[in-house]
């Protein structure tokens, strides 16, 4: 009865030992006596003590393994999300998502997660930090981190009986004492509370500033930490400056300068009109198409262009790249873009279908006019002069002439030799919606290569 009362007042019984052998045999005895809430305290990890105490292997490695795998998943996910999903950008043609390039970072993240886990799980499993251990109050216990060994059987153990514990430990011990329950509650000084409260409040300041910056609008200009980068002592292009007479910060080229490759002295080649005549503006149907007789359009080809098979071949190729998508490989106006526009009924939004190039009006154009349309466009069609060199545009003109004479005629030509079958090719108006489906826009109606 009296022992029971005493158990409440003591934290446990502590016995001290001077060498490894005696602490080991004492540990075995305590283990065999069936105690659970007890521990051995040593200045260094003693080899074989786990077995003597009956300590079960820790689950720490499994926790570390789990977190290591989590780290791997996080590392991969981070790289996939940032570089292959959210912000995709091409780096020297490398794939956005390929394992070899992602291994180093994944590896480092695995190590990072596992190492932090090994440390913090060790603290967690050992319930550290634990600064208020009653054992720290015993002056004699302090030598346990230097050169002494101790065993403490705690009063919390269900089998605890102080006398019995003393009897078990007594055989090998050099000293024994009771560890009292720590009742002193050392209060922290008032200033400590005040300082901590202030510090806690202060930690919210940066956060609230960040939140304010994120959600509030401000009239004031952005704060420049180091202004010399943002405001450099120089004039930017396309700005004014009173330092020059004309008030511009940029200088104009010297009068009469011609940029390299921009000398346009061959009118036939560059404008499709006779040498020295006036240069026509962009054509529209509303303004009477090509301007009628006002311009001296070239009827044939410029002297700088030799019409031969090579030119026609070049024209076929360029036409396929720049014109065929709208006007169709055969020039019947059934290009992929035209069919797609038909399929989605784009005319309702003002879409203008590309014209067939075999029509009489198209045939009536002079070569110069065709060249002018290819260069500057006509009405809804834009010009391709900036993309195609003049010689290539002439090649396209030659090719258009070729398909006008040979391909996809809407009605049988008058000079059709006898015995030749004629089959009119459909125009855009004849194409039914189902044929102009999205999946097979050009198949059947536009076999590639048939243009020759």
């Amino acid at each position: 009865m009296s022992d029971q009362k005493k158990n409440d007042e003591i934290h446990g019984v502590v016995a001290y030992f001077d060498d490894v052998d005696s602490v080991m045999s004492a540990a075995r005895k305590v283990r065999d006596a069936g105690y659970k809430k007890w521990d051995t305290y040593t200045p260094f990890p003693v080899h074989g003590i786990d077995e003597a105490m009956g300590t079960k292997p820790t689950i720490l490695p499994w926790i570390v393994l789990g977190m290591g795998l989590t780290g791997m998943a996080c590392g991969l996910l981070l790289q996939w999300y940032t570089n292959a999903y959210d912000y995709v950008f091409l780096i020297s043609g490398k794939p956005n998502w390929s394992l070899p390039a992602n291994i180093p970072v994944t590896f480092e993240v695995v190590i990072l997660f596992s190492a932090y886990t090994a440390f913090f799980a060790m603290l967690g499993l050992n319930k550290l930090p634990h600064l208020s251990n009653p054992l720290h109050k015993l002056p004699k216990f302090r030598r346990v981190t230097a050169d002494r060994f101790a065993i403490c059987v705690e009063a919390k153990d269900p089998n605890f009986d102080a006398d019995r514990v003393r009897a078990i430990l007594g055989a090998n011990t050099s000293e024994m004492e009771d560890c009292p329950v720590d009742t002193s509650r050392a209060a922290l000084p008032l200033w400590f509370h005040a300082v901590m409260a202030l510090v806690t409040c202060a930690t919210f300041i940066p956060l609230s500033l960040a939140v304010k910056g994120r959600f509030a609008t401000s009239e004031k200009p952005r704060y420049h930490v180091w202004p010399d980068m943002d405001f450099q002592r120089k004039r930017k292009t396309q700005t004014g400056w009173e330092g020059f007479e004309d008030g511009r910060s940029m200088r104009l080229p010297v009068e009469g300068t011609i940029p390299r490759g921009e000398l346009r002295d061959d009118f036939e080649l560059y404008f499709g009109v006779a040498q020295g005549s006036s240069v026509p503006p962009r054509a529209t149907y509303e303004a009477g198409s090509m301007g009628g007789e006002k311009f001296e359009w070239l009827q044939s080809f410029p002297t700088a262009v030799v019409v031969d098979e090579a030119l026609l071949e070049r024209g076929r190729e360029r036409y396929g790249i720049y014109c065929g998508v709208c006007h169709g490989a055969q020039g019947n106006g059934l290009g992929a873009v035209a069919l797609r526009a038909k399929a989605i009924d784009a005319e309702q939004w003002g879409w203008v279908s590309p014209k067939a190039l075999q029509s009489d009006s198209a045939k009536a154009y002079t070569n110069g006019e065709l060249f002018h349309i290819a260069s500057h466009g006509i009405s809804s069609m834009k010009g391709y002069g900036s993309q195609i060199t003049p010689k290539d545009r002439w090649a396209i003109v030659a090719f258009v002439r070729a398909i006008q004479a040979s391909q996809a005629l809407p009605k049988a030509p008058a000079d059709l030799p006898a015995g030749v079958d004629f089959e009119p090719v459909p125009t855009i108006k004849d194409v039914r919606l189902s044929e102009a489906s999205v999946d097979a826009p050009a198949s059947g109606t536009e076999p590639a290569g048939e243009a020759r």
Binding site: L60, A115, F119, N133, V144, T145, D147
Partner: protein
């Protein structure tokens, strides 16, 4: 003149040559747990007014250099990176050389702690703590250089994948980003490893504390450690895991650093040998630095019986072995440059040895390959002056290795029109000197206030640490007869 202590070997004359009889790891017939504790803890417990003179002088010098470094960094940030010699074509000048130099030094610590721990090289216990501290301080110095090299340091956080108002993410296919991950992982994991190893020793300091300041300071950092065997059980497992994780980490870090070079296409950089070659070089320079630091430290702080001549001997041999590896890498680079038949590569290497920077190349070869060969001689390994000199020349040589790699390739690339010559400015030079101030300030503080030797670990390799009775009959102390069982001495 020599400060070698002949008695260090004199007590066990036969142990040195006979591999089956090892010298004891802790020397002296009367060493026991309390004397080891006293020796190490005593250093940190010297009252301020009786601090070692040499320490005070060294500390004063280091702190002044650190102050100079601080001013220089301020100068750099307010003026711009143009104060350095980096300019077209050598945009990577001294800062990257210093970065690789310091990171390399920072490799021996974790290597000693982790790899030697896993391979059960017990001799590491005397030196691992100081080597780990050296690692962390060297990584601090290393991290500083790229940190200030980015120019606009106030946006240094762009290095990390943080969500930002530009809706941009870093490029994970760039070795420079891998470097950010590798070096920051290495720094923080080394810090954990070092701190965790120190917790039991800090508890020892706490329990020996004579005043409240010390009790509270060491008390907080020792986390309430009691030496409980159940705690030790989890702790040892965690330590083993950390060692197992740190080992591939060490190897990966310098490999990734070498990718900064090897993944580019510059002649002289674009080689597959770089990762192992850089790792060997890092270990080489790291061990040299450990020797440079530990020889004076054991002398001044009376730790000769814990950091013994055997430790120094082993490290000298490692130095020589890694020096040979580095030399092998140098020659293989030349062989591949010739064998590969690419004219740019062969030019790059001929230019290294005989071009504008021939002097740097030959300093590197003589310091790294030739001079360490003196350690074939046992007598020279035992002469601390020789060891000191060789360890310092090794570090000089390793700095020049990085200089040669970075600068010769950058100033002589494919097109002669983009050739140039790099010269450092006074800021380059003083900043490098200042980084030593940073390093030594931290290291001297460590020597003065923290457990310089892993006390608990040293105890585990002492003969008294093993049970002899009952079912633990086997003896772990082959050469331990010198340290007679002193276990009852304070009973």
């Amino acid at each position: 003149m020599t400060i070698t202590d002949p008695s260090a070997f004199g007590s066990q004359p036969s142990g040195e040559d006979d591999p089956s009889v090892r010298l004891p790891l802790v020397e002296g017939a009367s060493e026991d747990f309390s004397t080891v504790t006293d020796a190490v803890a005593g250093i940190a417990e010297i009252p301020v007014e009786r601090t070692n003179r040499a320490w005070i002088i060294c500390f004063a010098i280091s702190v002044s250099l650190l102050g100079m470094l601080g001013m220089l960094i301020l100068h750099l940030i307010t003026t711009g990176v143009g104060v350095w010699g980096n300019n077209n074509p050598a945009y990577w000048g001294w800062p990257i050389v210093n970065f690789v130099f310091w990171v390399g030094i920072g490799h021996a610590g974790t290597l000693i702690s982790a790899i030697l721990f896993l391979t059960r090289q017990n001799w590491r216990t005397g030196v691992n703590r100081a080597a780990e501290a050296m690692t962390i301080f060297a990584v601090v110095c290393a991290g500083m250089f790229p940190g200030i090299h980015i120019g606009r340091v106030w946006v240094a956080y762009w290095l990390f994948p943080l969500p930002n108002q530009m809706a941009m993410w870093p490029n994970f296919r760039s070795p420079l980003l891998w470097d950010v991950f590798a070096v920051s992982t290495y720094a923080s994991v080394s810090l954990l490893f070092w701190y965790m190893g120190m917790v039991p020793d800090l508890a020892t300091f706490r329990d020996r504390a004579v005043n409240n300041t010390r009790r509270i300071a060491y008390g907080i950092f020792s986390l309430g450690w009691t030496g409980s065997s159940r705690h030790w059980h989890v702790y040892e497992r965690a330590y083993l895991l950390l060692a197992a994780l740190a080992t591939p980490l060490v190897l990966s870090v310098h490999s990734v650093v070498s990718f900064d070079f090897a993944v580019s296409q510059l002649p002289g950089w674009h080689t597959t040998i770089f990762p192992p070659y850089f790792v060997a070089g890092a270990i080489f320079s790291g061990f040299a630095m450990v020797l440079t630091l530990m020889i004076p430290a054991r002398q001044f702080f009376g730790l000769k019986h814990i950091i013994t001549m055997r430790h120094i001997d082993v490290m000298c041999r490692i130095l020589m072995a890694t020096g040979l590896m580095v030399g092998y890498a140098y020659s293989i680079e030349f062989f591949i440059a010739w064998y590969g038949g690419v004219q740019y590569e062969s030019f790059a290497f001929v230019n290294r040895a005989f071009g504008n920077y021939w002097w740097a190349y030959w300093i590197m070869v003589s310091c790294n390959v030739l001079i360490p060969q003196v350690f074939w001689s046992k007598k020279l390994r035992a002469n601390l002056w020789v060891v000191m000199v060789v360890s310092i020349t090794t570090n000089i040589g390793m700095w020049f290795e990085r200089f040669v790699i970075a600068v010769t390739s950058l100033t002589r690339d494919f097109v002669p029109s983009s050739w140039g010559y790099f010269s450092p400015t006074w800021v380059d030079i003083t900043m490098f000197i200042g980084s030593f101030g940073l390093f030594f300030t931290l290291f001297l503080l460590f020597l003065r206030f923290l457990p310089v030797v892993a006390i608990a670990e040293v105890k585990t390799v002492m003969p008294q640490a093993h049970a002899h009775g009952e079912d633990h009959g086997e003896s772990h102390s082959a050469g331990g007869s010198a340290a007679a069982p002193a276990s009852r001495h304070d009973a």
